[in-house]
C-alpha cells in the first residue's frame, strides 16, 4: 500500500517534471524601439525624486556657486576648439603657479588634458562649480613630467594621429599621423632638449595609450586634483571680473 502511494507520488512527480520540461517557447515576433527620456513622454516617479532630494540639497549648496561667465556655448572639438584651448591654457598657467609654489626648478612648457576626459561643455552664461565637476568628474591629479624632446615629439605625434586634442603651449600641423613643425614657446622643438609637460596622472601613467610618457626623465606628483586647479583658476579670474572668451588660434591645424 505504502509502496503504491510512493510509486504514484513518484509517477506524479515525474509527470509534473516532464510537464514543466516539455514547456517550449518559440519566438513569434519582436518589436524593438528606443525611447527618449524627457518630460514630454515620461512621467517621473516621485518616489525616486524624493529619495535623492536630501542628497541634492546637500550638493546644491556647494555646487551652485558661480565661478565664471561665458559669452557663448563652449563645446569641445578637433583639431582645436575654444573649450579645449581655454582648458589647456588654464592648465598651463595654473600648473606654472603650482610649480613655482612647490619651488622646484621645473616649469611647464606644454599642457595637456586628454579629450576623452573632458566630459561636458560649458554653456553660455554663468559657469558654476557644478559645471566643472561635470566637465572634470575624475579625481585625477596634476602631474609634471620632464620629457626628452624626442618623447615630446612622439607624444604630440600621438595627439596628431588622434586628430588633435586639448594642448597648450605648443603649435603644430597634423601631417598624416604626425605632428609636423612643432613649436614650443614659439621655438622649434629640439629632440635633445628637455621639456616639461603638465598633465593628469591618468595620462602620465600611460592611459589612453600615451605609453611614451612612461619614458619621462622626471615626474612630480603635485598632490593637487586637476578639478581643484581649474576651480581655483576660474574663481580668481572671475573675482577679477574676467569673462571667459577663448579663441581659436590655429595651434593645431590639419595640413
Amino acid at each position: 500500500m505504502l509502496q503504491s502511494i510512493k510509486r504514484s507520488l513518484l509517477i506524479t512527480l515525474v509527470f509534473l517534471t516532464s510537464l514543466s520540461c516539455s514547456q517550449v517557447f518559440q519566438m513569434q515576433s519582436s518589436e524593438i524601439s528606443n525611447h527618449m527620456v524627457s518630460a514630454d513622454n515620461m512621467v517621473a516617479d516621485e518616489r525616486i525624486t524624493s529619495l535623492y532630494l536630501p542628497y541634492k540639497m546637500q550638493l546644491d549648496k556647494e555646487m551652485d556657486i558661480v565661478i565664471g561667465k561665458t559669452t557663448e556655448n563652449l563645446v569641445k572639438g578637433k583639431p582645436e576648439s575654444k573649450l579645449t584651448n581655454y582648458l589647456a591654457d588654464l592648465m598651463l598657467d595654473e600648473s606654472r603657479r603650482v610649480a613655482a609654489n612647490n619651488g622646484p626648478t621645473i616649469s611647464p612648457d606644454v599642457s595637456f588634458l586628454n579629450y576623452g576626459g573632458i566630459r561636458t561643455a560649458f554653456p553660455e552664461g554663468d559657469i558654476t562649480v557644478r559645471k566643472v565637476f561635470e566637465l572634470m568628474p575624475f579625481e585625477n591629479e596634476l602631474v609634471l613630467l620632464e620629457l626628452k624632446g624626442s618623447d615630446m615629439q612622439a607624444f604630440l605625434d600621438y595627439v596628431a594621429s588622434s586628430g588633435g586634442d586639448c594642448v597648450g603651449g605648443a603649435r603644430f600641423v597634423i601631417s598624416g599621423e604626425r605632428a609636423s613643425g612643432v613649436k614650443i614657446d614659439n621655438k622649434e622643438l629640439k629632440a635633445d632638449e628637455t621639456y616639461c609637460l603638465a598633465t593628469s596622472d591618468y595620462v602620465a601613467d600611460g592611459g589612453d595609450n600615451y605609453s611614451m610618457l612612461k619614458n619621462a626623465v622626471k615626474r612630480i606628483n603635485t598632490g593637487e586634483k586637476i578639478r581643484d586647479v581649474i576651480i581655483r583658476y576660474m574663481k580668481r579670474n572671475h573675482m577679477a571680473g574676467q569673462i571667459i572668451q577663448p579663441e581659436l588660434d590655429g595651434r593645431i591645424t590639419n595640413e
Binding site: S18, L19, S20, C21, S22, Q23, V24, F25, Q26, M27, Q28, S29, S30, E31, I32, S33, N34, H35, M36, V37, S38, A39, D40, N41, M42, V43, A44, D45, E46, R47, I48, T49, L51, Y52, Y55, K56, Q58, L59, E62, V75, R119, T120, A121, P123, E124, G125, R130, K131, F133, E134, P137, F138, E139, D201, Y202, D205, G206, G207, D208, N209
Partner: protein, 310 residues
C-alpha cells in the same frame, strides 16, 4: 530643439519559427489562443554616469532631459502593461556628476535598486575609485552585476560578480551573461589591480552555448560594455554579433551611441541578432518586446533558434 523625434518601432515577424513549426508537423497558428502568447519586455540603459537628476536647464545639448525618476516612471508603466519585464544596465553607472564625487557609488547603486533594476554589468568607470571603490558600495546593489570575462580571483572582488544569471518569467527562461572591455590602456593599473581580462569572443561562445543548450534558456542576452563599433579591429558589439550563434540580443554600452532604432546583425547561424545601445546618461531607454508562443506538445528543450535552424 523643437519636438523630440518620435521613437521608431521595428516590428519583426519571426517567419523562420513559423516554418519550423510546420516542418515539425505543427499547424503554426491553429489551436493557439492569445493565452498561448507570452510577451517578454527588456528595458535597458547604459552609461548612466551618475546622472541622477535631469541634465541642467542650461545644458547646451540635453537641457532638461534624462533623469532617473523618469526612467523609473517609464519602467513602472511598462511593468504595469507587462509584468514579464527585465530592467537591465550595460555599465558605467559610476562617475559623471558630483553625486559620485561626494557620495561615491553608494547612492547610484541605491537608486538603481529602488528603480527595480534586475541586472547590470561592469563598465570601465566602475573601477574609477579602485577595487575598494567598487567593493565598498556593493551592499547597496540589490541586483547582480554580471560579468563573464573578468577574472577577479586574485583580488578583493573575488566571488562578487556572477558569470551569468538565469531569470524566469512565467516559465520563460532568460539567460544573461556579461562582457567587459579591455582595461589596460583605459583604466590605470593601480585602479584595476590584478583583475584579468579574458578575450570576449571565446567567453561569449562558451556562455551562449552553456545558457542555450545546457541551461535551456529561451532567450540569451549579452550585457556588453565593449562598445558598439570602432574604426579599427578592436572587438565591439557589431564585430562580436556575427561570431555568435545563440545570443539573441546584445545590449551594449561604453561608446555612448545614439541609435534611432536598434540594429539587426546576421549571426553565424544566419539569424538576426538584435544589437542596441541607448545613448548615455539616461537620455534614452531601449525597449525590446519579444512575443513567444507557448506550446507543450513537444517533449522538450529545443530552443527557438535551434528550431529555426531546422
Amino acid at each position: 530643439m523643437g519636438g523630440l523625434p518620435m521613437n521608431r518601432r521595428i516590428f519583426i515577424k519571426n517567419l523562420a519559427a513559423g516554418s519550423a513549426g510546420l516542418a515539425a508537423g505543427l499547424a503554426p497558428f491553429q489551436g493557439f489562443s492569445k493565452n498561448d502568447l507570452l510577451t517578454l519586455t527588456l528595458l535597458h540603459t547604459n552609461d548612466l554616469h551618475s546622472q541622477i537628476e535631469p541634465f541642467d536647464a542650461n545644458h547646451p545639448r540635453y537641457a532638461g532631459r534624462a533623469g532617473l525618476a523618469r526612467v523609473a516612471g517609464f519602467a513602472n508603466a511598462c511593468r504595469l502593461e507587462n509584468p514579464n519585464l527585465l530592467l537591465l544596465d550595460a555599465g558605467d553607472f559610476f562617475q559623471g556628476t558630483p553625486y559620485f564625487n561626494f557620495f561615491k557609488g553608494d547612492i547610484m547603486l541605491n537608486m538603481m535598486t529602488e528603480m527595480g533594476y534586475d541586472a547590470g554589468t561592469i563598465g570601465n568607470h566602475e573601477f574609477d575609485n579602485g577595487l575598494e571603490g567598487l567593493r565598498d558600495p556593493l551592499p547597496h546593489a540589490g541586483f547582480p552585476l554580471i560579468n563573464s570575462n573578468y577574472d577577479f580571483s586574485d583580488t578583493i572582488l573575488s566571488g562578487k560578480f556572477p558569470r551569468y544569471k538565469i531569470f524566469k518569467k512565467s516559465g520563460l527562461r532568460i539567460g544573461i551573461y556579461g562582457l567587459g572591455i579591455q582595461l589596460r590602456g583605459l583604466v590605470n593599473e593601480k585602479q584595476h589591480g590584478a583583475v584579468r581580462y579574458n578575450d570576449p569572443i571565446p567567453v561569449a561562445l562558451e556562455m551562449e552555448k552553456f545558457l542555450a543548450l545546457e541551461k535551456k534558456c529561451d532567450l540569451v542576452v549579452c550585457l556588453s560594455h565593449l562598445g558598439l563599433r570602432y574604426q579599427n579591429d578592436k572587438i565591439s558589439d557589431v564585430s562580436l554579433a556575427p561570431e555568435l550563434s545563440y545570443t539573441d540580443v546584445i545590449i551594449g554600452g561604453h561608446t555612448h551611441s545614439f541609435l534611432e532604432e536598434p540594429l539587426q546583425i546576421r549571426n553565424k547561424a544566419g539569424e538576426m541578432t538584435i544589437v542596441n545601445q541607448a545613448h548615455y546618461g539616461g537620455l534614452m531607454v531601449g525597449k525590446l518586446d519579444f512575443v513567444f508562443r507557448e506550446g507543450s506538445r513537444k517533449r522538450s528543450g529545443l530552443r527557438s533558434s535551434q528550431q529555426k535552424e531546422l
